[in-house]
Amino acid sequence: MDALCRLLAENLEPAEIYTPYPVHGALRALKRRSKLSWAAWFYGFFGGIAILAFLYYTAVIDWPLNYGGKPFNAFPSFIIITLVLIILVVTILTLLTFSLRAKIFPFKKAEILDERATDDKFIIVFDAGHVNRDQLYASLREAEAEEIIEK
């Protein structure tokens, strides 16, 4: 964390970092944001409207059936099923969105920079074309980087 903050203070913007677990401070420092919660809200809101419309169409318009004298559009007793279906819709669509945005999907071949990143090493990657090489090396040594590898 200290190393990352120091590098950022010197305007050395990393291309990416790889960590064995989510380091929240680092994600904040790099200004990484996810709009997934907005997407989920959107799915839930419009999914809910679509579900209620479906219930109304099937139970009132397409084939009305009288269940124990209840009105065809028995809205209060539709609430539970609407809620559960919203949960189902939000789950499926959020998982698909996650898969698309984070590019995590079955049979994807991982682009592994260093196999130790999923074990115990914290990797900061810089794009050689975007930073001053000498300044970067000096800063990395100052930040006590364990290894510096050029690829």
């Binding site: 990416e16 989510p22 680092a26 990484r32 996810s34 397409d62 084939w63 059936l65 998982l95």
Partner: protein, 463 residues
């Protein structure tokens, strides 16, 4: 000047380094297990064979091979359905409620709890399916445009809600469990020494690399699924309870049912988590990860929920008397507290409301043999609770000429034994092929652990 009191012990013992955590947890994955594993699998397979035979008879002969009848229309199958779905609530309760409440002690336990959830919900889903009589037509319950009208389903029916809720629950709990494992599969992939292991875990890890862009979306997805699944946990068992509560059967027609069922489900699930965690801790020597503190926390939760259960039982008795409803009074006092099914009632009461009170004693909470036995007793008690609810109410209907005493047949017992075999086999496979503790989550609490217990000086306070 500051004063720090040691309220809680460390979450992970042994002053572990990150690489040690990976190495310790990965060690048993994919390796040849001990003889106990093969013995367990053999017994589970025998149970599965019995279950498969019972299912074969059920499919070919029909549900006439069961002892359910016009009066007791829901016998062992619905008892076992509710029992399994109750056990299946712990994984989600553990992971999701504790995730949303940001309880760091969940990290060593959630993986096993979620695995157990998926196995238990699979077992539970079997029962409503076979109860339909013609299970090959089960898709009739889905609302789809069909050639029968189209005749849509009844959206007012709790049985339909149940179908959707359980399907959603299975999907969410399985995807939440799998999502949690992706970074851990990547760790196994990157540390694998054999080509086969590397290839298998490469596929399972979905190309995970641990970049910040992956982590930020991963965590957001976890929270979203957790947030909505928390609602689902409460609604699934409330819906199961409305299968009963929306009827006019004495002992079922009560507003107490939804909270009573949800709490009961979490009770049996936590007891099963305790059973499993004690097994995992002792078999794989994960003492540093599943500490006495973890088990102590589960025991404290159990004693608290046990008090709620006791209160619910007493509320049922009180309302049967206070309401002045003669059918309710007859059922509760004549057919539960006393009568043919008194044994099942008192077994339920003692196992769920009395015996767990032993956990008030710190000595008992720390004696893992006794804790293990109590956790099994709770699950037995919860099974009796479902028997009590279903059979006692149905065996004495409003028409005395239809009164019967219900016993299961060999086939009904076989289906139940088969699901226990399925659950055991699933858990044993989980022990062998999947990291039993969430590696990346344990790593993320190490720093917190060190700061809280003075192993290092806090710096930015962010990690």
């Amino acid at each position: 000047m500051s004063y720090a009191a040691e309220i809680r012990g460390p979450l992970v013992l042994g002053n572990k380094k990150l690489s040690q955590v990976s190495a310790d947890i990965i060690a048993p994955v994919g390796e040849r297990p001990g003889k106990w594993w093969y013995a367990g699998m053999f017994i589970a397979s025998l149970m599965l064979v019995y279950g498969a035979y019972a299912l074969y008879i059920t499919f070919t002969v029909g549900i006439g091979s069961w002892n359910v009848n016009n009066s007791v229309g829901w016998g062992w199958e619905i008892i076992n359905f509710v029992w399994w779905i109750g056990i299946g609530h712990a994984g989600t309760a553990f992971s999701i409620f504790l995730l949303l409440l940001r309880q760091t002690w969940r990290t060593s336990i959630n993986r096993a709890a979620e695995a157990m959830t998926v196995a238990a919900v699979l077992c539970a889903a079997l029962f409503p399916l076979i109860h339909m009589g013609r299970p090959w037509l089960f898709f009739f319950i889905a609302p789809y445009p069909n050639t029968r009208g189209p005749l849509w389903v009844n959206y007012n029916s709790p049985l339909f809600w149940d179908f959707i809720a359980i399907s959603a629950y299975l999907l969410i709990s399985a995807s939440f469990w799998y999502l949690g494992m992706i970074p851990d599969f990547a760790t196994i992939r990157d540390k694998a020494t054999t080509r086969i292991k590397k290839a298998v875990y490469s596929v399972l890890s979905f190309g995970w690399t641990g970049s910040s862009r992956e982590w930020i979306r991963y965590e957001a997805t976890g929270f979203i699924l957790g947030g909505i699944a928390a609602v689902l946990v409460v609604s699934v068992h409330s819906i199961v309870s409305t299968d009963f509560a929306s009827s006019v059967i004495p002992g079922w027609h009560t507003t107490l049912f939804p909270p009573y069922f949800v709490v009961g489900a979490i009770f049996s699930g936590f007891a099963m988590v305790m059973t499993l965690m004690i097994l995992i801790r002792n078999i794989y020597r994960f003492h540093d990860y599943i500490t006495n503190r973890h088990l102590d926390a589960i025991a404290r939760i159990l004693v608290f929920i046990s008090l709620i259960m006791g209160t619910a039982y007493l509320t049922e008795l009180f309302m049967a008397w206070y309401s002045g409803n003669e059918y309710e009074g007859f059922l509760i006092f004549g057919n539960r507290v006393t009568g043919d099914y008194a044994f099942q009632f008192w077994a339920m009461f003692i196992c769920n409301a009395i015996i767990p009170q032993l956990f008030w004693s710190k000595k008992i909470r720390q004696n893992l043999t006794i804790a293990f036995i109590i956790s099994l007793i709770i699950n037995l008690g919860m099974w009796y609770e479902r028997f009590n609810i279903i059979v006692t109410s149905l065996s004495r209907s409003y028409l005395p000429s239809t009164w019967v005493t219900y016993h299961p047949t060999f086939i009904e017992v076989g289906i139940y034994v088969g699901t226990i075999g399925l659950f055991t086999a699933a858990v044993l496979l989980f022990f062998r092929y999947v990291p039993m503790i969430a590696i990346h989550e344990v790593k993320s609490v190490l720093k917190h652990n060190e700061i809280e217990h003075g192993m290092i000086e806090p710096n930015t306070g962010e990690q």
